[in-house]
């Protein structure tokens, strides 16, 4: 029992610090609340240190009778989510200081991170569902956190559509449970598990399995914002506070894809009789997501909405990797490590873009793309940081986004999905137009206003981390690629 608790220590620490912040906040005076972000950072740091200690002691194991697996995959995502949460704490410290409910904000942020970390390690349908709801419910509240009309509307849309997605996922899970008699995705030899059942081959369960696959695929596509389940994304990104939108865009996407890999790669298996079915499902998602996301992003005049549609298109890129897993047919899959690696680079790139938007929007008082004209002269460093991230989102060297796209396209080629790569490259060309339009706007167009824009120390630190990360991964990608491949090998 204590052995098991030791292995989910990072998760427990986050939970305790989330609850602690909520209760401490009750006793604090208004002026002392500015110390709360340090509490959140301390909790995240403690969780990261605990994870490092677990690695050093070589404690990887499957715990709680097979429900949670501490392996290189969940460790990779532990660090990823802790990093995301840490950067978002830095970026939202100023924003939160103006809010009435400060302790609640930090608590929800930490709880959402807790749920994501549990999701990445979950190997049991019940834990997946509970962790998913822990993340989602925290995010619903965060999306509707601002005391205004639009934020509430975004929260309502998010929770209604999210609850429908949860119900669909649950119905799919019920079918999986019905045909296998267990909720375990994988189990040791000789015990019942979903993987073992599917590996046995077709035995009159194909229809139920197919229904379960489509329902789980559709439900989780909502969480990672794949078309046609993307309706909430632009609205929520536009109306929620920008730091929250940044958190949603990378956090829920990474968690969603992590659990998709767990269910489809680890549970359903790439070379089972249903493998080609789910490969085709995600190939279709990838094509429509990239196309719809990019075309709609072209039309936007609000930068947060544009980033929303861009994140839909990027989800399509990642789905190429998921489709490539099954088609590769056994062995360590480039597709799975591609998804993992792409998510890591996407965290730096997209967070960086959102952080720059936070600073600029705060000063301009609006999110209109037109306001970015001449930013290269008004705020050279800030514009450079945003430009690096936009270039990386397009996928141009020498940035992280380029390496990630190359890796994932290569995985697709290896799996004989050349047509998917062609669609991806065409879409990259379309996306270059709207990403680089902003870059040229910042450097070529004259500035309507003068006056420097200086980020606060918190945001400057966050921006520096993301920009350096994007360029560093672009120049020296191999350590991270190695880590991603190690993480993915835990699933295969």
């Amino acid at each position: 029992m204590l052995e098991d608790l030791d292995r989910i220590g990072p998760v427990l620490i986050l939970m305790v610090s989330a609850g602690g912040i909520l209760l401490v906040d009750l006793a604090l005076h208004e002026r002392d609340r500015r110390w709360l972000p340090f509490g959140a950072l301390a909790g995240l740091a403690a969780a990261a240190i605990w994870t490092v200690v677990l690695i050093l002691r070589g404690r990887e194991a499957v715990v709680f009778s097979g429900t949670y697996s501490l392996d290189s995959f969940s460790i990779f995502f532990n660090f990823l989510f802790l990093g995301v949460a840490g950067l978002v704490v830095l970026a939202s410290a100023d924003h939160v200081r103006r809010l009435r409910y400060q302790g609640e904000f930090w608590t929800l942020l930490l709880l959402a991170t807790t749920g994501m970390m549990l999701l990445a390690g979950a190997r049991d349908l019940i834990l997946i569902f509970v962790a998913l709801e822990l993340t989602s419910i925290s995010q619903y509240v965060l999306a509707g956190f601002l005391k205004d009309d639009r934020s509430s509307e975004a929260g309502l849309k998010y929770i209604i559509l999210g609850a429908i997605a949860s119900a669909v996922i649950l119905y799919g899970m019920a079918f999986l449970f019905g045909i296998s008699g267990t909720t375990k995705l994988v189990a040791p030899e000789g015990q019942a598990s979903i993987f073992a059942l599917i590996a046995q081959g077709e035995s009159g369960t194909r229809a139920a399995l197919f229904a379960a696959m489509v329902m789980l695929g559709a439900g989780f596509s909502f969480k990672v914002a794949l078309v046609p389940f993307q309706m909430w994304v632009p609205d929520v990104y536009e109306a929620a506070a920008t730091p929250v939108a940044a958190f949603l865009s990378v956090g829920s996407k990474a968690a969603g894809f992590a659990v998709l890999l767990r269910i489809f790669y680890e549970g359903f298996g790439p070379d089972s009789f249903i493998g080609s079915d789910w490969s085709n499902l995600f190939a279709a998602f990838a094509v429509v997501s990239m196309t719809v996301g990019n075309v709609m992003a072209l039309l936007q005049t609000n930068i947060k909405r544009m980033l929303g549609y861009s994140s839909i298109a990027q989800a399509g890129n990642i789905a190429i990797g998921v489709a490539a897993i099954a088609a590769s047919g056994g062995g360590v899959s480039l597709g799975a490590s591609g998804v993992t690696f792409f998510l890591a680079t996407y965290v730096f790139t997209n967070l960086g873009a959102f952080f720059a938007v936070i600073v600029i929007s705060q000063r301009l008082g609006s999110d209109a793309i037109a306001g970015y004209a001449g930013m290269g002269r008004r705020a050279p460093l800030l514009a450079a940081a945003l430009a690096i991230c936009l270039v990386s989102l397009t996928g141009i060297p020498p940035t992280a986004g380029f390496v990630a796209k190359l890796y994932i396209f290569n995985a697709a080629v290896q799996s004989d999905l050349v047509w998917l790569v062609i669609v991806g490259v065409l879409n990259t060309a379309v996306s270059a137009y709207y990403y680089l339009r902003i870059v040229s706007h910042m450097y070529v167009s004259p500035a309507p206003d003068e006056g420097d824009i200086v980020p606060s120390p918190w945001l400057a630190a966050a921006l520096l981390t993301t920009s350096v990360g994007v360029v560093a991964i672009g120049l020296v990608p191999f350590p991270l690629i190695k880590a991603a491949e190690r993480a993915a090998s835990a699933l295969g």
């Binding site: 029992m1 609850g19 909520l22 209760l23 009750l26």
Partner: protein, 121 residues
């Protein structure tokens, strides 16, 4: 089908006997009680105040917070019942786990209390 409905025979009997009891009580009062018709008899409360306003009233929105608080402990009971019948077999771990669970919920109540949810303003 025989087996399935065996358990319901008792329910059926209870329904029939219950109906007979109620009907006979109503009938008896109808037959035995003296019966006088007057205007006073027709008011809503014969020996109370005359009611004001409509019958259908809206519940104040402030009850919503109480309903949510109630919901926490209502749902807690869902976990308490299965635990109550088995925790002796499972051992002390189950006991302490449930204590922890209730403490977490309790801290939620403390939070609501400190935020002034329980005050009727």
């Amino acid at each position: 089908m025989q087996l399935l409905f065996d358990n319901y025979v008792a329910v059926l009997l209870a329904t029939i006997i219950g109906s007979i009891l109620v009907l006979s009580a109503l009938l008896a009062s109808r037959l035995l009680a003296p019966f006088s018709e007057s205007r006073q008899k027709r008011t809503t409360y014969e020996c109370g105040m005359v009611p004001i306003g409509r019958v259908r009233t809206q519940v104040h929105i402030r009850y919503y917070l109480f309903a949510i608080l109630f919901l926490i402990f209502d749902v807690e009971a869902v976990f308490l019942f299965p635990w109550a019948v088995t925790f002796v077999d499972i051992g002390p771990v189950a006991f302490y786990e449930m204590v922890l669970f209730i403490l977490i919920l309790g801290s939620g109540l403390v939070y609501a209390w400190k935020k002034g949810v329980l005050q009727w303003k």
